[in-house]
């Protein structure tokens, strides 16, 4: 690998990590759309900042543009508070206005400004190594590496310092406010960090794809874990791995790096959505099917339990009595037999000892919902696993 190649991957990985951390909290706060709004609405801030500083990586530009992001959030909340429109409408009203102001500003000054819409929307990671930090003639590496590195460092420090506060204000804003951890401060803190991250990252990945880096890793991690710390860890991992594999995908396809990274994130999410062990589509469908069979099994066992008379329990009558299709009836009967819950003598089905206790216990469970009644059966039956 050449030096610029390593630098590009390093920048991509830093951007991915810096985006993933606020992304987790945006997803949990159901504010994913806000990241989209911020990423577009910062454009006028970037343009004005660029007029003043003439440098896309200047800290002043980043702060100015981030301020536009926070103003976006304030405007959205202001419009929403009038009670005339809902939040999504308010978002849809605010960010196109701010974005188009940015577009007009660029168009009016296109002749003397080195800034174009393509670069703003899509970014160009491949050019990042060209803009270098020179101090007294020494080359300290690409500027965006330093910018993103600083932003990531700030984000991680704030996360470590305020993890408890972020958690409680995200989960229960009411309690958070009552115990003196102001959810308003946490909200605007998160919005500020998200804005700064978006501004820092847009140069590399563009205003649209930065949304993918914020939301996709968190959404993917959400499907895999039920622990906030692990969710953050997984988001970081998914972000970085997508950034690096996206870079190589772009290399192979000779395509846009940011586009390839976003595609990788999408493919990763799809794979997890399908195959995640608990919340994945396939496992959900499998579980639903199992539960359907188990409900049938219990219905069947209860029927046997309730009917002493042999005619009700004759194998030929069972199907019409419970009114099932033959396939389903056979599946259930086989399942019951395999688990030694029933025995068939002279074509008459009866509950075994085990079947009898099982039926009684599940009846009790259904009536009073007491977990301890069903514990021993949990290993074998999805239905009782919660």
């Amino acid at each position: 690998m050449s030096n610029p190649q390593i630098e590009i991957q390093l920048i991509a990985a830093l951007v991915a990590m810096a985006c993933a951390i606020p992304g987790v909290f945006l997803v949990l706060r159901k504010m994913a759309l806000i990241s989209d709004a911020i990423s577009h609405a910062i454009l006028p801030g970037i343009v004005i900042g660029f007029f003043i500083t003439q440098d896309l990586n200047s800290p002043l530009l980043i702060l100015l543009a981030a301020l536009t992001g926070v103003i976006t959030v304030v405007l959205v909340e202001f419009i929403q508070k009038t009670g005339l429109v809902k939040e999504d409408t308010a978002i849809g009203l605010v960010f196109p206005v701010l974005f188009s102001i940015g577009v007009i500003l660029i168009a009016k000054n296109a002749n003397d400004v080195h800034l174009d819409i393509d670069a703003v929307l899509l970014g160009e990671l491949a050019f990042a190594p060209f803009d270098r930090l020179m101090v007294r003639g020494t080359d300290w590496g690409p500027k965006s590496l330093w910018v993103m590195g600083s932003i990531l460092l700030i984000t991680i420090s704030l996360l470590l310092l305020f993890f408890k506060e972020l958690k409680v204000s995200t989960f229960d804003a009411g309690l958070s406010s009552a115990i003196g951890i102001s959810p308003v401060i946490m909200h605007y803190g998160l919005m500020s960090i998200s804005s700064i991250t978006v501004v820092g990252a847009f140069d590399a990945v563009g205003a649209i794809l930065v949304v993918a880096l914020m939301i996709a890793p968190a959404a993917t991690a959400y499907l895999l874990t039920e622990d906030l710390k692990k969710m953050i860890g997984l988001s970081l991992l998914f972000g970085v791995s997508s950034a690096i594999s996206g870079y190589w995908l772009a290399n192979i396809l000779d395509a846009s790096i940011s586009g390839s990274i976003a595609t990788t994130l999408g493919v990763l999410f799809l794979a997890v959505y399908l195959f995640a062990p608990k919340k994945g589509l396939i496992s959900v469908l499998y579980r639903q099917k199992q539960q359907k069979i188990e409900v049938s099994l219990i219905t069947f066992l209860l029927h046997l339990n309730r009917h002493e008379e042999e005619s009700e329990r004759h194998i030929n009558h069972l199907q019409e009595h419970i009114n099932w299709h033959e396939v389903r009836a056979r599946t259930v009967l086989n399942l019951a037999e395999k688990n030694n819950l029933v025995e068939i003598k002279n074509n008459v089905v009866s509950l075994t000892e085990k079947g009898l206790t099982f039926t009684e216990k599940s009846l009790e469970y259904i009536i009073n919902n007491k977990d301890e009644k069903i514990e021993p059966m949990k290993e074998d039956f999805f239905l009782f696993r919660g």
């Binding site: 949990l28 159901k30 009670g83 310092l161 305020f162 993890f163 408890k164 506060e165 958690k167 409680v168 995200t170 989960f171 229960d172 009411g174 309690l175 406010s177 009552a178 115990i179 003196g180 951890i181 959400y222 874990t225 039920e226 622990d227 906030l228 692990k230 969710m231 009073n368 919902n369 919660g386």
Partner: protein
């Protein structure tokens, strides 16, 4: 009652959403050590009253004091059980972790919970019979169990005053009895408990004080003295006795 300390005192409190008053000129005193129900129809401002006491909602007029001082100086004296539906139970965390949040108030900013806080949380979970579920993901809990977790979290706050917003909502009979027993124990320990309550039938059995609320305060006092058809009719706007007999 004159020489009894007041846990909560509310004077001339008015709260409005978009200039529409939801609580109008409320004066209310909660004596120390009572188990009080707040009753009133939907939209009467019961939850708003609790949230205003806790400083979550800012009133447009009037004041709230906790043992004679503003709430912001007495945060650690008050524990809160919000409505169960006010949070997202799919949040990635465990029952124990939610209960631990009860200790965050006394920890203050930045300081992290440690072994001491964990011990407090585990003890609180034991009191509500949820110790066996401490590592359970909160979305995997039943409605009654979630309510117990919230109660345990309030116990972990270890306060003098407990404000609870519909703790009996959506729980089965067993859990309801378990919760009311804990509330009665709190009262026995000298704590003050204020509960937004919906089931009028159980008011005399569960509570010793009651406040009737419908935007304005209708009445407040001992259940034995003021829980009658007259006040119920004034609060609910229909002839209550007739409505029950039907």
């Amino acid at each position: 009652m004159d020489n009894q300390k007041l846990a909560v005192q509310i004077d001339d409190l008015t709260v409005a959403y978009n200039y529409k008053p939801v609580l109008w000129d409320i004066d209310l005193s909660v004596p120390e050590g009572v188990l009080m129900a707040i009753v009133g129809p939907n939209g009467a401002g019961k939850s708003t009253l609790i949230k205003t006491i806790l400083g979550i909602i800012k009133p447009i007029a009037g004041s709230v004091s906790i043992y004679g001082k503003p709430y912001s100086k007495q945060r650690k004296m008050v524990a809160y059980v919000p409505q169960k539906g006010s949070v997202d139970w799919d949040f990635p965390t465990t029952a124990l972790d939610v209960v631990m949040m009860g200790t965050y108030g006394s920890l203050g900013w930045i300081k992290r919970p440690g072994q001491k806080e964990k011990k407090i949380a585990l003890e609180s979970m034991e009191k509500v019979g949820m110790l066996a579920f401490k590592n359970r993901q909160i979305s995997q809990l039943s409605g009654g169990q979630q309510q117990r977790v919230f109660l345990a979290r309030a116990l972990a706050q270890d306060a003098a005053i407990y404000l609870m917003d519909e703790p009996f909502q959506g729980v089965d009979a067993t859990t309801e009895i378990a919760i009311i027993n804990i509330l009665k124990e709190l009262r026995k320990a000298g704590k003050t408990v204020v509960v937004v309550h919906h089931d009028l039938q159980t008011v005399p059995e569960y509570f010793d004080w009651v406040t009737f609320l419908n935007v304005k305060k209708i009445a407040t006092g001992p259940v034995k003295e003021i829980f009658n058809d007259d006040n119920l009719t004034k609060t609910y706007g229909i002839n209550y006795k007739v409505a029950v007999n039907k």
